[in-house]
Amino acid sequence: MNLDMTALGLPSMSAVTWLLAMLPLILVLVLMFMFKMSGTRAGVVAWVLTLAIAFFVFKAGPEILSAGTIKGVWTTLSVLFIIWSSMFLYNIVNETGSFKVIASTFTKMTNGNRILQLLLLGWAFPTFVQGVCGFGVPVAVATPLLIGLGFDPMLSVITALLGHSWGITFGSLGASYEALITNSDLGTLVGHREHLAFWGSIFIAFGGVIVGFCILHNYGRYLSGEEKNGYFGKGLPAVIFLSVVMGVAMIAGCSFVSPNLGCFVAGSVGLAAGSLVLPRLPMYKGSGAAAAEDPDMPKFGFLTAFGGYLILFVIVFAALLIPQAKAALASVKFGYNAIETVTGTGFLRKAGFQSLNLTTPGFLIVVSSIFAILFFKGKGILPEGAIGRSFMNTAKQSIGSTTTVISMTMMAVVMTEAGMTQYIAYGIAAVAGPVFPILAPFIGLLGGFVTSSGTSSNVLFAGLQYSVADALKISPYIILAEQTTASSLSNSFSPGNAALGTGVSNQSGKEGDILLVTGIYNAVQSLLVGLLGFLLVKLGLGLY
C-alpha cells in the first residue's frame, strides 16, 4: 500500500532509511545477546548511535536530541520509583522472615507441587496484581515471592514477566485500553468501545493461553533428569484449566462488567479457582514432596507474613478506586514543560507538561512500606536495624537496573522524538499489503520493546493501525486487538522490564539473557496472534 511519508513529516520511504532507523535496536540486541554486554553499556552506545542517525538521516536538530534525552531521563523516574520502593518493601518483609511463612503456606496449599506453585504465583497472581496496578509492580512483587519459594531467580523473573504481560491491556484499571481507544479514530463510531473490548478480550485471552504454554515450556529448561521426564504432560492440565478459567473470565469481565476491570476479574477468578480447584484434582493431589519442618520457621501466620503486600493492595485500591482519594493524589503534580519540536522533514512533537503525580505506583509502594514497617513493628517481628539494612540492600540491588533503565529509555525516547520509531512502523505497513494482519502484531511488539509500556505502544501506533486497516478495508477491531495484544505481551521482552526483573532479583547484568528467552517467546506469540488475526480477517469477521 502507498503511504505518503512526507505528509507525516518523515523522510520518504526507502529500505536504507528504514534499516538505519532500525540500527539502534539491532545494535542493542547484538551487543546484549552476542557480546554479552550489560544493558547499561548497550543502551549508552545505542543512544550515541541514535543521536547520529536522528541528526543526519531524520534531520533532527540539537533541540530535538536534547529534548528527547531530557524526556528519556524524566520518563525513567516513575519506573525507578517502582524498582526502588518495591525492592525496599521486599527487604523489609524479608527482614521479618515472612517469606519462609509465605513459602511454607503455598507449599502446603499446592501439595508441594512445583508446577502449581509456579503457575499460581507466576501467572495468576501477577495477573491479579496487574488488574489493579501495572507499571511493573506485578513483576516486582511476584519475582521475590517465587524466589522465596526456592525457584531459580532467572526462572522467577522470566515467569513473572511472561505471567503478567497478557493482562496489560485490560489491567491497570484499563489505562492501556483507554489509550487504544483514544488514539485510534474509533471515537466517531457508536458502540465502538464494546466492540473493541470484545475483540480485544478474545485476542488477549488467546495471548493468555500462549503465555501459559510459554511459562510451562520455560520451566522445563530449569529441570533435569527425573524431574524433566513428563513434566510437560503433568503441567498441561493446570495450564489448560487456568487458560480457560482466566480467558473466559477476561472475556466475560470485559463484556459484562467493564473493560477497565477485565484483568482484575480474570486474575481474581484465576487465583481463587487455581488455589481451590487445581490442588484437588487427582493428578495434583499429594503429587509433590511434603514440606520439610524448618526449625527456624517464624511463629506467626500467613496473614501477618503477607501483611506488607496486603497493605499494598489496600492502599492501591483505595488510591485508585476511591474517586476523592484519586483526585486528591492526582492534584499533587510535579514536572517540567517539554518544548515543541519539529524535524527538518516536518515531524512535529507538540509541547506539553510532563508530569508525575502522587498516584504513581512508586509513591503508593513507599506509603505501603511505611505502613508495613509500623505493622511489623506493632507485631514485634521487625529486627533491630532492619530499616537501615533494607536501605543499603535496596541501593545495592537496584542500582544495576537503574542504570540500564536510564540508558535504554534515553535511546528509545530520542528515537520516538525524531520519528524513527514511527518510520519503522510505517515501513512495515507500507510493504505488508494483504498480509498486514500477520505483521500488525510486530508493530505493537516494536512499540512495547522501545517504550517498555503497552500503553505507550498503543499511544504510538493505534492511529497507524487504524489507518492501515481502514485503507485495506479490513476490520479495525481485529487489527487494533492484535496491536494491543502484541504490545501487552511485549512487556516481557522490553529492556526496561527486564532490568526491573533483574533489579528485584539481584541479578543485574543478566538482562540480555532474559531478553534472549522472552524475545523468542515474544516472536512466537506475535506470529500466532498475527495468524489468528489473518484467519479472522479472511473469514470477514470483525466488521462493523
Binding site: 549508552v44 540539537p62 536530541l65 542500582i399 540508558s407
Partner: protein, 52 residues
C-alpha cells in the same frame, strides 16, 4: 556501601543533574549552548558506561 555501588549512584546523580541543566538550556533556544549540553550529557553517559 561498596565503591562500585557508590560510583554507579554518582553516575546516575550526575546524569540527572545534567538533564536538569539541559532543560534550562533547551528553553533558551541557544544552539551553541544546546550542543554544549549534549556534549556534557555524552560525557555523563560515558561516565555511566565506565561505572557499569
Amino acid at each position: 556501601m561498596s565503591p562500585v555501588v557508590k560510583k554507579k549512584l554518582l553516575a546516575v546523580a550526575v546524569l540527572f543533574v545534567v538533564a536538569i541543566a539541559m532543560q534550562f538550556i533547551v528553553v533558551t533556544g541557544n544552539v551553541t549552548l544546546i550542543w554544549a549540553s549534549i556534549a556534557v550529557m555524552a560525557g555523563a553517559a560515558g561516565f555511566l558506561y565506565t561505572a557499569c
